[in-house]
Amino acid sequence: MSRMLKSREALLALAILVLIGLIATRFPEFVAPSNLANVFNDTAPLIILALAQMVVILTKCIDLSIAATLALCGMVAAMLDVAGVPMVVILPVAMALGACLGAVNGLLVWKLNIPPIVVTLGTMTIYRGIIFLISGGKWINDQQMSPLFKSLPRADILGLPVLSWCAIAVVAIFAVLVGRTALGRSFFAVGGNAHAAVYTGINVGRTQFAAFVLSGTLAGLVGYLWVARYAVAYVDIASGFELDVVAACVIGGISIAGGVGSVGGALLGALFLGVIKNALPVIGISPFWQMAISGTAIILAIAVNATEGRSRGRVILKSAEHVA
């Protein structure tokens, strides 16, 4: 199985390289190191959120409220900054708020057994609505934000901005968390076979709760980074971004049925979308194409995932168990 997953990631990495190569033949400036660094930096929020979404999907849940959580935390961070709160407080508060919003999702799934898609479809609109309530529908723009608040994600460390380093750090942490810790293994166990997980002493609901809290926390982090980078906060920031995040996961080979996926897959899935998004204006295609391309990529990716999963006979087992 691991060989199959590895080959899938290799395939995706190859696809990204071919894509970059094809663009480079006509637009060599696209592959200049500085531009590739820009592409990575631009994709950093997607990478972080794809990893967050990955653990949720591993436990057989889905978090559609991730973009709304991002936006709400971003707005709160911006409002705190305008109120003169120092940066050392803003960032932890944004992440803690994200964790709380994730915990709300997690508790509804854990304690009340409500299907995650319904919970997060509901909280998605509720969190967006709360942004409107606290901001009164107003924008917080460039001039109102403090210089430190805006410059932190762009600050240069060893040639890369802090935003990029955040993504790299999250990838590193997740590689350890998912691959080397008991919690990481329990994400797979819960999604792979909930019954077996219970018999091995894993609390299914609590593991799903942990995944949602993790997802919310990272959404809170990205919320600050997003608002600070674009130097604007309003109700609709990152609207629809949850679809890109799910798309990155699905393209990265994370099975929506739970229990199958890898950090490398999510990373490559996000990079794949990031390269496409950044290449469109370079090769002269209207950015309006991006939504349809993401949609097509999602559908193709799940079709590929399904044919891979079928050979292992997972689908049959699942349907027999899941009738109840």
Binding site: N113, P116, S286, I298
Partner: protein
Amino acid sequence: MSGASVAKGRHLPNSLTSPAARMVKSWESLLLVVVVVIFIVNSFASPYFLDPWNLSDATYNFTEKLMIAFAMAPLIIAGEIDLSVASIMALASTAMGYAVTQGAGTPELVGVGVTVGLLCGVFNAVLVTGIGLPSIVVTIGTMSLFRGISYIVLGDKAYTGYPAGFAYFGQGYVWYVFSFELILVALLAVAFGVLLHRTNFGRAVYAIGNNATAALFSGIRVGRVKFILFLLTGVMSGVASVCLTSRLGSTRPSIALGTELEVVTMVVLGGVNILGGSGTIPGVVLAALVMGLVTFGFGLLNVPGIVMSIFIGLLLIGVIALPRLWAQFRARRG
């Protein structure tokens, strides 16, 4: 989807209670009480509420969504879901707008709208039943794809200039205050009610939702039933798109954004089990009335739209959470 729910058995209806008692205790009668209460509260809260023309206008809050909910309800009862309905509406509307620029008349426009809806439904159906992909992700994908095509075609522009006769579907009245949409939705309610509650097809839908494997072994063509349900959802989205486009008189790629949430909320509020297996068309109709009346009441009180969407979100979660909380509370006491 939640793993822990696997362990618990489905609540089986107790056939020992009399049909009358069951009806009184049913979700539908609770909704009916809510509808009546909201109606009375609204008529006291605003002097404009009881005006027949105002009430007629209020029906536009739910007619188009209810059309889709009629098809979404059997789909969810059968254990699937379609999150792409709002995007189907956008694509159908864009196709109609394009048809106008090619000189299409009113009958052709209706044909184009419904056909595009049908094709989108078939596309979802093939992916779910033909290839066997999970409907949640497939329709998240097509949600992005269908609206994405609208964005490719339209970008930041809009189609206007629909022929005058086309306005009838969204703005016309059949008789007195009864709009075309209201009459259409009433006819569709009867049609879908009969389909779901009085035909073999309807029984098959419940059987699939309760136990797809058992349904398959009892000779129900599970794939075909689900195919038809996705197709119907597409067609109804097309019909709703015709009405909405006719009512607005213009098409933008962002048309009907977020409608899928309201449709799913309507269906779940109507007592349809989100995990499949139970629910009724009358319940969905009553849920539409609740949502329509509340939205209308908020509108009269000048509550902004986004606050209403918070309310819809709370309603969606609350409606599922409260009965479960109540059941847990009772289990702990007894």
